[in-house]
């Protein structure tokens, strides 16, 4: 498959594709979410996903995603996919990588490679998959595998909206690598009516950890990975 067909998922909602494929239902709800820190400041790049009470199978057209490697970093830093998605790991660097994960949700290893040397990896269990490279200790990436097609990341204003939600009860989760696992906000339960719109605000309590993705772009002054 051509890379252009792969969904980057970071900025794009899977819902629109889903809606196109199955024919958008006449009535669909919207969930708007804001994420702020304890001082009320918006937080970017926070993953939000709404899990419906009635399971929604992954749509055929949304079942592929890609986790690139460029400048010895995983791009995107956090990839959100629905359970059942296959992810390609193209290495666009001049150096080889050796990608692995020992996470419970998916344990795998892609032996030393460049380009598209390995077939896609199927993520068939929900949970957090932490990625590493056995050559470059500093490389760290995440694949968040969720049981829903309704997910997105907050923008620079700390906001996002999930459209195309069927009337149902939803559990809304928030996840970010900038919080310790125990500090993650509690799940919120909402009911979306047909054509209904809901708004939620999540306040992140606890100290925010450094933004590693941003650090990668700004910390080049010093060599953090010694030969």
């Amino acid at each position: 498959m051509a890379p252009a067909e792969l969904r980057s998922s970071k900025s794009r909602s899977a819902v629109s594709i889903l809606a196109l494929l199955i024919g958008a239902p006449a009535a669909a709800g919207v969930l708007r979410v804001n994420v702020v820190d304890e001082h009320g400041q918006p937080i970017e790049h926070v993953a939000v996903y709404a899990v419906p009470s009635k399971p929604v199978a992954v749509a055929a057209g949304a079942a592929n995603a890609s986790m690139d490697q460029a400048h010895s970093a995983f791009v995107p830093h956090v990839l959100i996919v629905q359970t059942g998605t296959s992810v390609l790991f193209p290495n666009n660097d001049v150096v080889s990588h050796h990608v692995y994960s020992f996470s419970d949700a998916k344990t795998f290893e892609l032996g030393l490679y460049k380009g598209n040397a390995h077939p896609p990896v199927l993520f068939d269990r929900p949970g957090l998959v932490v990625l590493g490279c056995n050559i470059h200790d500093g490389m760290l990436g995440y694949i968040l595998v969720v049981d829903t097609p309704h997910f997105a990341e907050t923008d620079a204003q700390g906001a996002l909206s999930l459209a195309g939600l069927h009337a149902d009860a939803y559990q809304v989760h928030v996840w970010t690598p900038r919080l310790r696992p125990n500090d993650m906000p509690a799940v919120k339960e909402i009911v979306i009516a047909a054509d209904g719109a809901q708004s939620l605000t999540f306040k992140l309590e606890g100290k925010l950890l450094p933004d590693r993705d941003r650090d990668l772009r700004t910390s080049s002054t010093l060599p953090w990975e010694r030969y």
Binding site: V94, V95, S96, H98, Y100, F102, S103, E109, G111, L112, K114, L128, V130, G132, N134, I135, D137, G138, L140, Y142, P177, R180, P181, L209, P210, R212, D215, L216, T218, S219, S220, T221, L222, P223, W224, E225, R226, Y227
Partner: protein
């Protein structure tokens, strides 16, 4: 024996290389690079360079400055298997101990982690992971051309041949910004370490010792029974040599918080028997504690600091032929070196670095109670990465020092200010230019 060990290490590395080359079907698993550094150096010093058996601290003094090929470097890193790599770094030098030789030759085994613990085993001839300046392959520094006094000495006299185990993990949870690395090594060789530091004193340059190097030093005085100097003999040091067939060790731990703060604490002991003599080299019982700190500051500023403090015990009055003179005695010299470096990277390709060094060495046990070296240094460098192939820069270096034995040993002035200005053009070519 020391030479035999180093030759065995080099031979093993070369056999590994040949094997690796034959086993390769994918060329992208091999990284091969060549780098040529050409410098124009203008030095000002009352002494000739130590590389010419002079009393000067600079690599180049008025007697040998001008247009120099400061380093001609070849490096190779090949993947023999998924988790096994071989690295060989060799260079050509035309001063101190000339010719082509190997600075590092080692293999790394990194098993795929089955838990949060990432482990690595390194064996061969390598540097301990102490230097925060010499972070690039080939133990090169991205900051200044002349390394700090501390790292110059590590590059000159610290080169174990042995095995190093290290473990890296994120603390608390996967992806935690707190990372810990612990490392430990047992090694042979490196028994004469400390010799050059005492006889010449601290220095700041970028000449790394190769495995078979025989480095020049100021001549060894010959005293009569009254303590008067009646003559000299030439002496050289082979820092990699093994003299007592007993292993040395180092160990340390490193904590880092994201890409913002790094702190390393380590201990090195070569555990040499100071009465051991082999292949023209005496053992020097050298040990030190090392602390390194690196901090990312706002505004693309970075701070690097290292502090090293230790002692070396050796036999004063030991003969060049391995015999002890009637007045030979065990003496202990304490040494310390530290530096603070500030660096700023502009637009990813221009770098300005300023460093202050301070260093000392003095007698702690035995007579005479001399302070063999005391001083400081300032280094200012600008470097520019023009392309993947071309880079260049300029460096100003000023070392002010006082060496008490200079008058007593050589009837030379104790105090000296030595400066050098260096213009550098580097050309790099390889399979994976940085």
């Amino acid at each position: 024996m020391g030479t035999l060990l180093t030759r065995a290490a080099v031979a093993a590395a070369l056999v590994t290389l040949a094997g690796a080359a034959l086993a390769q079907e994918a060329s992208d698993r091999n990284r091969f690079e060549l780098e040529i550094d050409a410098s124009y150096v203008a030095a000002d010093s009352p002494f000739n360079s130590w590389t010419e058996r002079g009393l000067g601290k600079l690599r180049y003094s008025e007697s040998n400055d001008g247009l120099k090929s400061t380093r001609l470097l070849a490096l190779y890193r090949g993947r023999i298997a998924e988790t096994l790599s071989a690295t060989v770094i060799a260079d050509y030098q035309d001063d101190a101990s000339s010719g082509v030789d190997v600075t590092e030759a080692y293999m790394d085994w990194r098993p795929i982690p089955k838990s949060a613990n990432q482990q690595q085993v390194r064996f061969g001839a390598f540097y301990p992971p102490f230097s925060l300046e010499n972070a690039e392959l080939g133990w090169q520094s991205p900051f200044t051309y002349s390394y700090s006094a501390v790292n110059t000495w590590l590059g000159e006299e610290i080169r174990p041949i042995g095995i190093e185990w290290s473990l890296h993990r994120h603390l608390g949870f996967a992806g935690s910004p707190h990372e810990l690395r612990v490392f430990a090594s047992a090694f042979y060789g490196n028994d004469p370490a400390g010799t050059l530091l005492f006889w010449r004193g601290w220095s700041l340059h970028d000449r790394q010792t190769r495995l078979d190097d025989k480095l020049p030093m100021p001549p060894h005085p010959i005293w009569d029974y009254t303590g008067a100097v009646v003559g000299y003999y030439d002496q050289t040091v082979e820092p990699v040599a093994e003299t007592d067939h007993e292993p040395g060790a180092y160990a340390g731990l490193e904590w880092r918080y994201a890409r913002r703060v790094l702190v390393q604490l380590a201990r090195y002991e070569n555990r040499a028997d100071p009465y051991s003599f082999s292949g023209g080299q005496w053992g020097w019982d050298t040990e030190f504690t090392h602390l390194g700190v690196q901090v990312s500051l706002p505004g693309q500023l970075g701070l690097v600091a290292q502090w090293l403090e230790g002692k070396t015990y050796w036999v004063q009055g030991a003969g060049a032929n391995g015999t002890l003179t009637p007045f030979a005695s065990l003496v202990g010299d304490a040494f310390s070196g530290k530096f603070l470096l500030l660096t700023r990277l502009v637009n990813g390709s221009h770098r300005v670095s300023l460093r202050y060094d301070a260093f000392d060495m003095h007698r702690e046990q035995g007579q005479p109670a001399i302070e063999s070296d005391h001083g400081d240094a300032w280094t200012l460098a600008y470097r520019y990465e023009h392309s993947a192939h071309w880079s260049g820069g300029v460096e100003w270096l000023r070392i002010a020092s006082s060496r008490e034995p200079w008058e007593y040993y050589y009837a030379a002035p104790e105090d000296a200010v030595e400066t050098s200005v260096r213009l550098v053009v580097s050309y790099r070519v390889g399979t994976a230019p940085r």
